[in-house]
């Protein structure tokens, strides 16, 4: 019991990202409204980003901007003092990708609306089946 509790507390960031990911996935698959699906898609993407950012965290470390950079006194930089910057870099890219996908998805959703005058998937499919 204690082990499980410790597992839960020790990795609560990871549990949250899984929860969010499941919310997003569920919204994409089960929701009927196209915009809702797009929201779900974005939640899915942010969940992955949350996961990556969580990897980078280091106990007792600070933001990866090296202090006293140009004050002349050059002392050795220890990696353990700074948070892992690599996931941050990756996630900057991922955020950009997600906003790009969002833009395109919304545009296409609008195109769909213009054609079928509804955003509900079942109504659209009904229209396609019986023109």
């Amino acid at each position: 019991m204690e082990d499980i509790l410790r597992l839960i507390i020790e990795k609560y960031n990871y549990w949250i990202y899984i929860t969010l990911m499941m919310i997003g996935l569920y919204a994409i698959i089960a929701k009927n409204n196209l915009v809702k699906k797009i929201v779900g898609m974005n939640i899915l993407q942010t969940a992955v980003i949350l996961f990556f950012v969580s990897i980078g965290v280091k106990r007792g470390a600070t933001v990866p901007i090296i202090e006293h950079a140009h004050d002349g006194a050059h002392h050795a930089i220890r990696a353990a003092e700074y948070i892992n910057p690599l996931p941050h870099v990756l996630m900057l890219t991922a955020i950009v990708v997600s906003v790009a996908t969002l833009g395109v998805a919304l545009v296409i959703a609008i195109k769909t609306y213009q054609r079928f005058l509804t955003l509900e998937e079942d109504e659209i499919l009904k229209q396609i089946r019986e023109p």
């Binding site: 994409i28 699906k37 898609m41 992955v48 990756l90 990708v97 996908t101 296409i108 659209i124």
Partner: protein, 498 residues
């Protein structure tokens, strides 16, 4: 200059995209020449790379001058050199054919169309050439986003299909990214070879197993492997014809390549085949994919839609062939990447010509086509024979290797599925040919049987020539299979499979 080929391959189309985009605002006439220049450049570079790799072994390139695990690193070996050549050739031929359609369907948007076209190619080429797992994700998204937009350009329900593609594609890409994240969390690296080096002691970790599963599911979603294929037929059917003939041959094949690359280079065969022992299960999935793809194709009344289901079945060929886990199966799968790209290109181009002339590709618009569009239909026949697997078209040879691999692995289900799908293809295509050949053009039955009057209404030459280049290519590639396998693919086969 040749040491910079891996970079130039991706950069040339990217730089071209700027000029095309600018030309779109100032001199729209120049869009097409710029596109041709960009893609021709990368085509030449990819052929040069293939030559380099064949003569001197794998080539690598360090971006920004940093060494592998820290910087981004491109590596070209026999496997991706071949796929690169395929991708750039298919993209280039299709571009030539696309011009007439673009001028007919959306003349005022040629600029953005060609911009997205080259960006799509950039994404695909980059995915094939890259040696960095995260870089692959970014390029995957470039190809995906441009693909979504190009597909949504179609008529009718295209936007909805494209939206479904976006959802599935995003799930796939996110899964891929998550898989990479899982690998990163246990290894701390993103470079494919570096990960492979660090993984062996970690095989027992559940994270690696989960990473593998998630990554594979993501990639399968993107390639439309059977239970995850639902988005594919609609998206490819409703896209404008120059887009279907671009996306359908390339996207699935490149994703198959990504799968092979991930398994072979990142996870290594030791892990995927020996440790997990999933091969049999995946091959059975492929069997289901092939059978279902063929059966679903049978139920279609629209030629283009039927072709999309054939694409689903063909994905099963490649996935199954690879997972057979022996040299012949691997050779078959890689060879099929090449062959299937050309075959589907040929078929989709032919259907594109029909759509261009007739307005749609439903069965009702086919009667009399052998008379009115003989050249297009002849090329369609060549493509069909290749899909069926009739020598000397190239489709036969990859099927041969796949059959041999199935036999070697003792997987008779896969063998039977391959034969079944060949037989179904015969039915599929001859159904089309029967309509085109027997049913007269107009309403009255007798009129078509008159004298040899020439009622030819062919697609423009700009669409016929690329089609015929492809059709002849099918036969040439078939005749040169021995060379291709002996000089390229044989070197790509992982040592463990030999």
């Amino acid at each position: 200059m040749s040491e910079h080929y891996p970079a130039l391959l991706v950069i040339l189309p990217l730089l071209a995209s700027f000029f095309i985009s600018a030309a779109g605002w100032f001199r729209p006439v120049l869009c097409f020449p710029f596109t041709v220049a960009g893609l021709a450049g990368s085509l030449l570079v990819s052929l040069g790379l293939l030559g380099d790799v064949m003569s001197g072994g794998p080539v690598s390139y360090r971006f920004a001058g940093w060494d592998p695990p820290w910087g981004i690193y491109y590596r070209v070996d026999h496997l991706n050199a071949l796929v690169l050549a395929v991708v750039s050739v298919v993209g280039f031929i299709n571009l030539l054919a696309a011009r007439s359609s673009v001028e007919k369907e959306f003349p005022e948007k040629a600029g953005p169309f060609y911009t997205l076209y080259v960006l799509f190619m950039t994404g695909l080429l980059g995915m094939v050439v890259t040696g960095d797992a995260f870089n692959l994700y970014v390029l995957l998204e470039i190809a995906a986003i441009t693909g979504y937009a190009l597909i949504a350009l179609g008529k009718g329900r295209a936007p909805l299909s494209s939206l479904h593609y976006i959802f599935m594609g995003t799930i796939g890409a996110s899964f891929y990214l998550l898989g990479v994240g899982y690998l990163y969390i246990v290894t701390g690296s993103l470079n494919m070879e570096d990960i492979a080096r660090l993984l062996p002691p970690l095989y027992e970790s559940k994270v690696v197993t989960a990473a593998f599963v998630i990554l594979m599911v993501g990639v399968w979603l993107k390639m439309g492997f059977f239970p995850l294929h639902a988005w594919l037929p609609n998206a490819y059917t409703h896209a404008p014809s120059p887009v279907s003939s671009l996306v359908a041959p390339l996207m699935t094949k490149v994703m198959v390549y990504v799968m092979i690359r991930m398994v072979v280079t990142v996870f290594t065969l030791d892990f995927a085949f020996t440790f997990l022992g999933l091969n049999d299960a995946v091959v059975w999935l492929a069997v289901v994919a092939i059978v279902m793809g063929s059966l679903l194709a049978l139920s279609e009344k629209d030629v283009k839609r039927m072709l999309t289901y054939i694409v689903v079945a063909e994905v099963g060929y490649m996935v199954g062939g690879f997972w057979l886990g022996n040299s012949a199966g691997f050779t078959g799968a890689v060879l099929h990447i090449l062959n299937d790209a050309l075959m589907t290109l040929c078929l989709f181009l032919a259907v594109g010509n029909i759509v261009h002339v007739k307005g749609n590709s439903r069965m009702e618009s086919l009667p009399g086509l052998f008379r009115t569009m003989p050249w297009t239909m002849a090329a369609l026949v060549v493509g069909a024979l290749s899909i069926i697997g009739v020598p000397p078209t190239c489709g036969f040879f990859s099927k041969w290797y796949l059959l041999l691999g199935a036999l070697e692995a003792g997987h008779y289900g896969f063998l039977a599925a391959l034969l079944f799908s060949s037989l179904v293809s015969v039915v599929l295509f001859f159904r089309i040919f029967e309509v085109g050949y027997f049913e007269p053009l107009g309403g009255s039955h007798g009129s078509a049987h008159g004298d040899d009057e020439h009622v030819v209404r062919e697609a423009p030459l700009g669409m016929l020539v690329p089609l015929w280049i492809t059709a002849l290519g099918l036969i040439l590639v078939g005749l040169y299979t021995g060379e291709i396998v002996g000089r390229v693919i044989r070197h790509a086969v992982p040592a463990m499979m030999l």
